[in-house]
Symmetry: C2
Subunit: 140 residues, 2 copies
């Protein structure tokens, strides 16, 4: 009969919201919204991926990726090209403006990550990572 605030599930939810709020504030200066940088991370690593592949990398359903891609396209950061060999397939490429965001976004994330694990020793950080991996496996 624990109060809801003591559940780890509740704690995770609160942390997620706080983390997103921090990310939103920092990404806003770059004209991005939280989550969009995830897609860009994948594209900086490899262009020409399909919406489905991107969705899988992000752990998201295809319609979610579609919507995010529409907004990124409208923002002029990516472009769609239909695959010449299979007209069902769409391939996503970065525009110049999309490529230019790599460094500043990386800095935002590194800064946020540092803040997230502040006051934790390297040992504790490794431990947290391991425990979260177990939780992740439990919920998959």
């Amino acid at each position: 009969m624990l109060p809801i605030q003591d559940y780890i599930g509740f704690q995770l939810l609160q942390i997620h919201r706080a983390h997103r709020a921090r990310a939103e504030a920092a990404l806003q200066k770059l004209g991005l919204h939280t989550g969009q940088e995830m897609l860009l991370f994948q594209l900086w690593k490899e262009e020409g991926m399909t919406p489905s592949q991107l969705a899988a990398c992000l752990g998201v359903e295809p319609p979610t990726a579609t919507k995010m891609l529409q907004r990124l396209e409208r923002a002029g950061l990516i472009e769609r090209r239909t695959d010449p060999e299979d007209a069902r397939i769409v391939r996503i490429y970065l525009t110049e403006r999309g490529r230019a965001l790599e460094r500043p976004v990386l800095e935002v994330w590194q800064h946020l990550e540092a803040r997230t694990v502040a006051n934790l020793s390297p040992t504790e950080q490794a431990l947290l990572r391991r425990l979260l991996m177990q939780v992740s496996a439990n919920l998959s």
Copy 2:
């Protein structure tokens, strides 16, 4: 230059999504959506709270609480009553149907919490809780 998947921030996001998906699946059988049960938890503890108070308990902005309350009202689980002494203030009360959900929702959460911390010893669970509290403080 870590891949994004190795960031703790990314791990937290994935865990949150997995956790929400599990909660959604279980709550769906009760006619609820993820997050709504949080509001109900507060009301089961104390009725007559105002939207602002509820938002604060949930760590959410007032407009978010307003929307959730509208949906819960439409679903017949809560009702609004204007405070007789101060017409600005709205007080939220449960309906019979809202009260009836306490036990089944609690069971859903206990079950999900057990799954979340499965394969973790009591020591590890306490450790995880402590580390998450630190992360939470870092991001606040």
